[in-house]
């Protein structure tokens, strides 16, 4: 493998890994803030326990999301320096905005939240977690605006003199039509993921024989998680549908690649499953819905969907001579089996997640008898639930990024022109091995610690200290929280 291949793999591995923690952070920060607000408003000790219990799980998860995010910011310059030179004028701004407007907010107020027990007024304390949540959502907005530029470059011009793309309209970059459908899709998916984690953890406790008097607490947490998962998953479906239509318009190759559709076709079908190499030689679709691909792409069952071959020919004619747009390796076609299967896995896992949320809501309904609250299948539902949206997220990103290939910025620069010219394959290989080993080790530590705190349960949390305000004035009392 050369430096280019290694750099691509490195970006793929580190991004997919980073994005396991990101949606949990976004989703859970809102839920923890919600529990915290409920505690402040009602002083119901159950809400206090849920706040601290899920807050601890949130922090364990946040730490890894944070550190793997730093790697991402540095990676553009380290592995993709020619990309950074070419689009830095446009792409750098959202990243700088993200750091200045959101990273400071998240990190400062999370520090206040973690150490704030007994040290700041309780309403303000609950507000700090809401600020963390707002920070995560705004952060997602900026980084997705940067990504949307790569999918559909807008608000720029190519400057012959400086030999790079330059920003002409920042508002256009922030309101890119791809961004306007991608941001709600990613955020609802994040809520779905956070909701599923809360739902699963609470269900698992509800299923334990020793749950006893804590059952109502876990039940309400499970239902909160399930409602969020359900509502968010409906949002994911609606925004995903909108996204499909924008994608078909701006990146026809990606939609064709999602189905493995090689020639233009009206009333194009969508196959649920298929067998075979997906190279266009023969179509062996197992279950096929006529016209569905046309509907996904254009909102009409009869519309014509562009195929891979005509789009490829168009690209070759238009771009193969360009300085930044030549493509020596892929003939302007993404890896079709990858796009085909990740598209289905994304949707399939998402639908399973939705179904689990529905089942959980039914199983925890008011009328359900106590013993019905803990049927056997819950254990499995609990274990499986978070993995559905989590892996759906991963497959969604793999689909949308692989589907963009060979472009790093659609129709503007191919990936092969973007890699750092003087960084050797050995350097990229070394960093790849180090990241992979380190990330793997940290994943083991993180999951173990996460599960340890899941097992401890909310019941391990001591009663809320009603004299917290008094304690604040007692200069000699031990801190409520210390490292």
């Amino acid at each position: 493998m050369d430096a280019l291949d290694l750099a691509r793999w490195q970006f793929a591995i580190t991004t997919v890994y980073h994005f396991l923690f990101v949606p949990i952070t976004i989703g859970m920060s809102a839920i923890v803030a919600g529990f915290h607000t409920a505690w402040v408003r009602t002083h119901n000790p159950q809400m206090y326990r849920l706040t601290k219990f899920f807050g601890k799980l949130f922090v364990i998860n946040f730490a890894l999301g944070l550190v793997t995010g730093i790697v991402q910011e540095f990676q553009f310059g380290m592995n993709w320096s020619d990309y950074s030179r070419f689009v830095g004028d446009i792409f750098g701004a959202p990243l700088a905005f993200e750091a200045l407007l959101t990273f400071f907010l998240e990190s400062t107020f999370l520090g206040l939240w973690i150490f704030g027990w007994g040290r700041i007024p309780e309403k303000l304390h609950a507000a700090t977690m809401w600020l963390v949540h707002i920070g995560t959502v705004m952060s997602a907005y900026f980084i997705l605006a940067a990504n949307s530029f790569m999918q559909n470059p807008v608000g720029f011009t190519f400057n012959e003199k400086t030999n790079r793309a330059e920003l002409t309209d920042f508002v256009a970059v922030l309101t890119n039509k791809v961004q306007l459908v991608t941001f709600p899709h990613v955020i609802t998916a994040a809520y779905m993921t956070g909701g599923a984690v809360v739902m699963a953890v609470a269900l698992w406790h509800l299923r334990r024989p020793m749950v006893g008097a804590n059952a109502p607490m876990y039940r309400s947490a499970a239902r909160v998680g399930a409602v969020i998962t359900l509502v968010a998953s409906l949002g994911v479906i609606v925004t995903g549908d909108l996204q499909g239509k924008v994608m078909t318009e701006v990146q026809p190759m990606k939609m064709a690649a999602a189905e493995g559709l090689y020639e233009n076709q009206t009333r194009a079908p969508f196959s649920i499953l298929s067998i075979g190499p997906l190279d266009g030689s023969k179509a062996t679709r197992i279950i096929e819905v006529p016209g569905l691909l046309s509907f996904l792409g254009h909102g009409s069952f009869d519309a014509e969907v562009k195929g891979i071959n005509p789009v490829r020919d168009e690209y070759q004619a238009q771009f193969s001579q360009g300085k930044f747009t030549q493509d020596a390796t892929t003939a302007y076609t993404p890896n079709i089996p990858t796009t085909y299967w990740t598209f289905r896995l994304m949707m399939g896992l998402g639908f399973v997640g939705l179904a689990i949320a529905l089942l959980v809501l039914w199983g925890t309904r008011k009328g359900a008898a106590e013993n019905q609250l803990a049927p056997k299948w819950w254990h499995w539902a609990a274990i499986a639930a978070p993995f559905m949206p989590l892996f759906a997220n991963s497959f969604g990103w793999i689909f949308t990024e692989v589907g963009r290939q060979p472009w790093i910025v659609h129709n503007l620069m191919t990936v092969q022109n973007a890699v750092s010219p003087r960084v050797s394959a050995a350097e990229v290989a070394v960093s790849m091995v180090i990241y992979t080993l380190l990330y793997a080790a940290l994943a083991v530590v993180e999951v173990k610690l996460f599960l340890k705190y899941v097992r401890l349960g909310a019941e391990a949390i001591p009663d809320p200290d009603h004299d917290a305000d008094a304690a604040r004035d007692d200069a000699d009392a031990p801190l409520a929280y210390a490292y």
């Binding site: 730490a63 400071f104 400062t108 973690i114 040290r119 350097e427 180090i434 940290l442």
Partner: protein
């Protein structure tokens, strides 16, 4: 504002971001390194040692993450305002940056995870992660800045210049090493003074005693490093800033002598700011001088973004930098109380 003025303004703002990073993360890296030194109880009581370590980590607990964002913002702002600087620097200093990243990862995980496990092995391993993870950036940032300011070999035609030295080894020249030692000892001193400022009891005295020793080593290293750099590329202003930085450091050590922790910490804080400012003044108007004779440098003018991008960024900076400063200062106010080992609660999960 004219294009040239905007470019210079962003050079200044990036200097400010690095100053913020070194002044703030400087002390939390120092505290991270010192848990194995100042953290040790002199009587060898393992429980007291553990309380001292936790006390030290708790003083930086609410702040270290916010401090680190100054680095991320410096990185993001360099990307946005000087894409060629970002590209040349990050691709060129590949392996040192990799080491810094690994260190920052281990350090952050250590700070957040150390107290969440039960066994001595768990805590000892994360102690190592925190100490090594604080040590490496404290050393390597000095190495990196010594090389940036004094120039590295670069080939290609400006602004698409590429670092042409041997990976790592070219950076470990004598000046780079003395730069690394300077930041290392400066942050050790700065961290010890933060402990002295934020704690009470025996640990406060130990921190002062350490700061005094480390401060003297810092003074020697800094004089060699900044003097050498100023001889290479300095101006009257960078010399003046260097002298003022030295004065602040000596004033800080004098303040330690008379047990004025607040003044002492302010002294190393201002010293750090002035020393970084002196480096940026020496760097101006280049952003990366070329050490190859006759080679083109990367300059503020040729490395920058377009005027429009700089205008947008300026608007954001004018509005948000004061807001960020406001709430960060407020967190220091919230957690202003001095702590002692008595304040450290018994180890508990919640």
């Amino acid at each position: 504002m004219s294009y040239e003025l905007l470019q210079n303004l962003w050079f200044l703002l990036i200097a400010v971001l690095w100053i913020g990073y070194f002044c703030l993360e400087g002390f939390d890296m120092g505290v991270g390194m010192l848990i194995g030194l100042i953290g040790k109880d002199k009587n060898g009581d393992p429980q007291e040692t553990e309380r001292r370590k936790r006390l030290m980590l708790t003083t930086i607990g609410p702040h270290w993450d916010g401090n680190e964002v100054w680095l991320l913002t410096a990185g993001g702002a360099t990307f946005a305002a000087f894409p060629h600087w970002y590209a040349t620097l990050f691709a060129g200093f590949y392996l040192p940056l990799l080491l810094i990243l690994v260190a920052l990862i281990l350090r952050a995980m250590g700070l957040e995870y150390r107290g969440k496990g039960d066994s001595d092995t768990w805590r000892r391993n994360w102690d190592i992660a925190i100490m090594v993870g604080s040590f490496l950036p404290a050393l390597l940032w000095g190495v990196a800045f010594a090389n940036i300011v004094n120039g590295v070999p670069m080939t290609g035609s400006a602004p698409a210049l590429e670092y042409a030295g041997t990976p790592v080894l070219s950076l470990l020249n004598p000046l780079g090493l003395i730069g690394g030692l300077t930041t290392l000892f400066l942050f050790l001193t700065h961290g010890a003074l933060f402990v002295a400022l934020k704690t009470d009891g025996q640990i406060r005295h130990d921190a002062r005693a350490f700061a005094l020793k480390a401060g003297l080593v810092t003074a020697v290293c800094a004089v060699i490093f900044l003097g050498w750099t100023n001889v290479n590329t300095g101006t009257a202003l960078s010399w003046a800033l260097t002298v003022l930085a030295a004065v602040c450091l000596l004033a800080a050590l004098a303040a330690v002598k008379v047990a004025r922790d607040g003044w002492a910490f302010t002294g190393t804080f201002v010293c750090t700011a002035l020393a970084v400012a002196s480096l940026f003044v020496a760097l101006f108007p280049d952003v990366m001088p070329n050490s190859i004779a006759g080679g083109q440098p990367l300059t503020i003018a040729n490395a920058s973004s377009s005027q429009y991008t700089l205008q947008i960024m300026t608007g954001a900076a004018v509005v948000f930098v004061p807001i960020v400063l406001g709430y960060q200062i407020w967190t220091y106010w919230v957690f202003r109380r001095r702590l002692t080992t008595r304040h450290i609660p018994a180890a508990a999960h919640y």
